[in-house]
Subunit: 155 residues, 12 copies
Amino acid sequence: MAQITSPLSGDNQKIAGDALQGALIDLLDLSLVGKQAHWNLIGRNFRSLHLQLDEIVALARTGADAVAERAVALGVNPDGRAATIARDSQVGHLEAGYIEDGKVVAVFTDILCAAVSRMRERIEATEEADPVTQDLLIEVTDGLEKQHWMIQAQR
Amino acid sequence: MAQITSPLSGDNQKIAGDALQGALIDLLDLSLVGKQAHWNLIGRNFRSLHLQLDEIVALARTGADAVAERAVALGVNPDGRAATIARDSQVGHLEAGYIEDGKVVAVFTDILCAAVSRMRERIEATEEADPVTQDLLIEVTDGLEKQHWMIQAQR
Amino acid sequence: MAQITSPLSGDNQKIAGDALQGALIDLLDLSLVGKQAHWNLIGRNFRSLHLQLDEIVALARTGADAVAERAVALGVNPDGRAATIARDSQVGHLEAGYIEDGKVVAVFTDILCAAVSRMRERIEATEEADPVTQDLLIEVTDGLEKQHWMIQAQR
Amino acid sequence: MAQITSPLSGDNQKIAGDALQGALIDLLDLSLVGKQAHWNLIGRNFRSLHLQLDEIVALARTGADAVAERAVALGVNPDGRAATIARDSQVGHLEAGYIEDGKVVAVFTDILCAAVSRMRERIEATEEADPVTQDLLIEVTDGLEKQHWMIQAQR
Amino acid sequence: MAQITSPLSGDNQKIAGDALQGALIDLLDLSLVGKQAHWNLIGRNFRSLHLQLDEIVALARTGADAVAERAVALGVNPDGRAATIARDSQVGHLEAGYIEDGKVVAVFTDILCAAVSRMRERIEATEEADPVTQDLLIEVTDGLEKQHWMIQAQR
Amino acid sequence: MAQITSPLSGDNQKIAGDALQGALIDLLDLSLVGKQAHWNLIGRNFRSLHLQLDEIVALARTGADAVAERAVALGVNPDGRAATIARDSQVGHLEAGYIEDGKVVAVFTDILCAAVSRMRERIEATEEADPVTQDLLIEVTDGLEKQHWMIQAQR
Amino acid sequence: MAQITSPLSGDNQKIAGDALQGALIDLLDLSLVGKQAHWNLIGRNFRSLHLQLDEIVALARTGADAVAERAVALGVNPDGRAATIARDSQVGHLEAGYIEDGKVVAVFTDILCAAVSRMRERIEATEEADPVTQDLLIEVTDGLEKQHWMIQAQR
Amino acid sequence: MAQITSPLSGDNQKIAGDALQGALIDLLDLSLVGKQAHWNLIGRNFRSLHLQLDEIVALARTGADAVAERAVALGVNPDGRAATIARDSQVGHLEAGYIEDGKVVAVFTDILCAAVSRMRERIEATEEADPVTQDLLIEVTDGLEKQHWMIQAQR
Amino acid sequence: MAQITSPLSGDNQKIAGDALQGALIDLLDLSLVGKQAHWNLIGRNFRSLHLQLDEIVALARTGADAVAERAVALGVNPDGRAATIARDSQVGHLEAGYIEDGKVVAVFTDILCAAVSRMRERIEATEEADPVTQDLLIEVTDGLEKQHWMIQAQR
Amino acid sequence: MAQITSPLSGDNQKIAGDALQGALIDLLDLSLVGKQAHWNLIGRNFRSLHLQLDEIVALARTGADAVAERAVALGVNPDGRAATIARDSQVGHLEAGYIEDGKVVAVFTDILCAAVSRMRERIEATEEADPVTQDLLIEVTDGLEKQHWMIQAQR
Amino acid sequence: MAQITSPLSGDNQKIAGDALQGALIDLLDLSLVGKQAHWNLIGRNFRSLHLQLDEIVALARTGADAVAERAVALGVNPDGRAATIARDSQVGHLEAGYIEDGKVVAVFTDILCAAVSRMRERIEATEEADPVTQDLLIEVTDGLEKQHWMIQAQR
Amino acid sequence: MAQITSPLSGDNQKIAGDALQGALIDLLDLSLVGKQAHWNLIGRNFRSLHLQLDEIVALARTGADAVAERAVALGVNPDGRAATIARDSQVGHLEAGYIEDGKVVAVFTDILCAAVSRMRERIEATEEADPVTQDLLIEVTDGLEKQHWMIQAQR
């Protein structure tokens, strides 16, 4: 079957591909837990958080699409299937059922903090390998750090 | 913790809740496999299918949000976490790696055909229990059947 | 030649297909006579009716497209060719040449009244056969009944 | 004086007309008490509730217009005058003067809960009499139940 | 309970508050009778009046919201509940049932003429008390006088 | 009954009127066969052709409205009723049922080629009679020739 | 002082310039009498004519700007000053004061009929001299003839 | 013939009517000389002035429409016919032919300065007679003074 | 150097100029402290206040631009430089560092209350000197009083 | 290889094809020198010319696309490759490096003047051969002559 | 009081925080002097510079918001109060009163040149400390350098 | 003649200038060959490729404008004249005449692959010299690599 040729050498393709696949899983799972909290949220700050969670989901979906399309443009197959997310995701767990507003703030502060930390490792890892990929990861991280601040500010 | 009171009696709430949770898993997984194919697609019909798959994803995401919000409005907690999708989804499997255009047409014809069939069971199941839920399921099914036709027509 | 497989059993497919084909002919002919009157209208209420007839035409065109696409999604071939319309349409006749505003109000009150009556038979016929089709026919009927009122109110 | 002829028989027209007139009074009064609370609201959650109440008012106004126009399309005169609302409305009472945010959440949870309950009776009542009217009532109820959840979630 | 402090002294607050509450009742009732006529209208000029009445309703709703928010900004609680409108409104009565186009023109010419007259008294009353409130009343009056002309011109 | 006076002398009015009526039938039938193919299309190029056929239909509808309104502005009654189209149209026949993509390309290449040819005769015929009508026919022909190229290029 | 050089020879520049200046005066005066009637109109058809007159004014203003800019592009100075319009205009006179709807229809039917007749002479005059100018005059005439029909149809 | 009844007493109606008619002539003539300069302008600052003159024309047209509609709403017939403008206008004269940019700045500084001065007299004259009219004149004056500054700043 | 001539006499120019310069400093400093709080805000109501503060900043910026342009249109030079704001502003002080939501509500209630009070003095001061300037100050005050209410309502 | 069949006979196709290819080269080169000047421009009128040059480029690009698509619709292959432009273009030369505003005005006055002259020959040449092509060339010429005036007016 | 935790270590947080605070002061003061010149500008190029200065102000405001929000996302409190700007800003001084167009070009060329120079130091300083911050500073610098060119080109 | 001063030292200015000029030629020629293929394309995938080529052209034009404006902002004159493109471009050659869809896919895969390779050298070359320029080149490369994938995927 035909394959997409890569503008990168094999090593750099591997490094960039791993960073992008890691980012993809983070962002897809963030979009799923973001929606899960958006639906099951309860508490006095319901409306503000309900809306903000949808902004986080939109950010995660846009970012996921960008990193996956970047991966395939480098000749690397992104994998965003449910089983892969369930198996590989490092995004923090969310209990089933209603979740109170204060809990959402605490959990998403942690989830975004950890995701940012993994993204920063990917920024470092791709600096030599592919500055174009690095630039995309910087942009995604910028958005996540902004949401991290705005969730955390509500504690 | 506070709970959302339901406009339905316990039995009807159970029937409608099951139908909506089932639809949620179908639609979330459809949005994930839709994106997976959107990214890894290859073949002469790449551009047409790449764009159509994004329409299917948009339909699935809008539908998933609607059924999940309907569930919580009935006092039932929707569960759209990755592990739940991976465990419960009946949506057909997609291999990792590149996927050829003809294969996409065949696979999504099957996926949509089966999803439509499960949706029609839910329409029947909710007729007595909750006509408001049934009306939403009818609308979602209408969209899926339209995509089913438009994918299948490309065989 | 390939065919579109139907989500309905043969009997139900037949019932839904007949209802949709009937609706298609009604709506296409309504769009044609609506334009005919839009162009040949004369009288003091020219501008109001000229504009309202275009709303009726837009409603009829949107409805025709929806019922035809629903038919093919059920594996039934819609037939909207001029000869078929000329042969099968039950929409009332319109004389050639100028048509006065009062005449337009009278004629379209009748045309819409009769079309609504046929649509309501189709709603009944499809209730068991296909609730998804029935829901579409209900929506189209709602629009036609609204126009029926707004034309009739001008008598 | 001219009258609008009805697509329904006398009995069904009566049933559908009563359901629509009842819905009209509910929705118009909801739009009035929604604005009353929107203006006189006070408390830490002022901004979120102030905005949400305007969404409820918008929903109620759109719904009121739809049910009233549906009534007249059936040849039934809708009555939405202030005296009629004041006399017939079953929507819960709102005290004059400032109203605190917690109170608004409690009162509107009750108001919406009761309105939904009356709407569901109307859905049942019109099932046989007029499926087109029923479909409109289902759509309105869907919106009210969503707002009921989103207000209640803030307790 | 907390209260909104007023930028006006007690006397001026009383004068401005009374003018705004009076305007609120006029505008809310105008929006209700406007819709009542919009729905029950009949006659050859149906479409033109049906549309113009909706412009009047939109004007009345926007104005009502502005005067009520201005009242509370002055520390005065606006009261726009159905019972208050029914009790206090000086807007002319509208019979139930169909209302012919000529009748609508006559009735609304009178309703708007009288409303303008009361608004002009309020403009005078607030000149000393609060020029900011006066400016809002002038703007509302300007809109009402324009509609008064455009309805009356159809006699 | 009143009639529209023409800016043209009788002979020129006749020439321009015939050209416009001919164009009207061509364009209305093109819009009907365009939709017929849009619905019943099947084959690998389904999506591209499905979308392009809708562009042709939009072009045909806009053109039909323009030529019909031009006719009546010249005091000539356009006739766009189904029976007239069925009787007078020279647009090529389309079989009922599914139609394959390659067939659509071939048939619409022929239909557009022949329509363009008739339009060019009308351009010539109206040059002396009415340059304003000629200019409209030139604009319509330009659009048809562009679609003719873009369909044909897919052979 | 600098001058704009013309793409036309002296004779053709003169012919085209005269045609454009004539059209300019017609269109500017049409925009003035259109507004005059828009403001002073009275009668049952007030709203329809009030709106249509504004469409005529918009058409006349757009056309006036186009012909004036075309004149200067040909090195001919357009003159659209009030005194010039008052002195040169051949547009029919309008009495001061209220003007009834039927009168407006009659007067504007005549005004547009005569304007169209002068425009057609200009189309003929410029055919040889400047086809670019002729094309603009054709477009303006097309718009005027359409309005002529739509006003006249209301008699 | 029917007349528009005025919300003002005879004396006040006369004062407001005169002020509005005066403003109407100023604004209509400003729109004509603005266009005249827009077309015949020449010089290095052509583009800036060409665009700014169109802003002045837009301001003048909007203002003219507002003051004329206000006049008729007061039962006073506005007169904006070419002959009336030519006879009554006090707006400064503009020579025919090309006009250099520096000249435009000088002439429009004077025209706007004088118009503002007349508008301020009208503001004073209407203060007692009709505060609603005065408010409109204030708004128009504000716009003219802004344009006066921005033209003058280019000297 | 050239200067902008004023439509006001020297005394009135001085009064209006002082009022506008005072308003300018109030509004510019409000825009700066509004952003300062928008950025450094912390607490459970973070999101609502973060968004509302941006509405206040937008209001202040729009108002500042309007009063400054009005000043120069009167021939008075507005001064909005940082040093001038720092020296002349009477807007309340904001501490550096994080600022809690409750503190923001308290501080901005005071800041807006005091600004409104100064604006009302300017409205009074300019009544005789320049009604056009007064009208602008009334409009700005209206906006500030609305924000004052909406901030204060959150206490 | 497949070819596009032409609606024109061989001779007319040749004439129209030559005119369109000539126009294509003119327009493409105009778009390139327009951008060259847009970037390298210097002088006091920088901003006005910088913006106007982009309008010229937009006009040239739109025109180039239209004439090239018209050529292929006639079965003639347009050639817009860089080497062809460099070889065939008659558009005046532009020196490398900064170019002063006065120089730009002079050069583009000449470039547009010459282009218009060539376009007018093409209009004449295609009159018999293809009125549809002629109409497109007239429209392009109209735009170029307008820009020619507006550049030249700045001398 | 709660604090925002930083994704950066203390040293890097200090470096990035200093760079962002420096950029904030530059951008806020640029927005203030940009408006000051926008208002007090005089000279033949008034309109072009008046508009361009508003583009610079918009750029500066957007940039200021972005760097301040980035600072707080890093746990550093931005300080944009008037006194801080007055004390710390290195942006060049602007005299009070009218400022001629040539002067504005000279002064803003210098202001932007110096600001760009400081921004480039910040880009260098943050390269190691925080690539996400550096990327934002690069984007802001890109915009400032573009404005620097476009102002300077007008000398 | 005046010159634009550079924020870069001479050496860095030279490096960045060369990279930008190289990118400019690549992008301009890509926009020309993209259009050439857009027009002369033939084959079953005509419509998909016709549309995608226009996306490539839009990307190339936007990129060309950005790199050219960046060059002049650095004091380097971009050269985008036809002769320079024809002389310096390294973009692959395209034969005249019809070009089949498969050929387009092959040729543009090669053209984009080679362009990306040259862009990556420029990214490397400018890293030290000017990070602002580098960031722009990264962004352009990202777009080209995405198009490279999407063309190549159709093989």
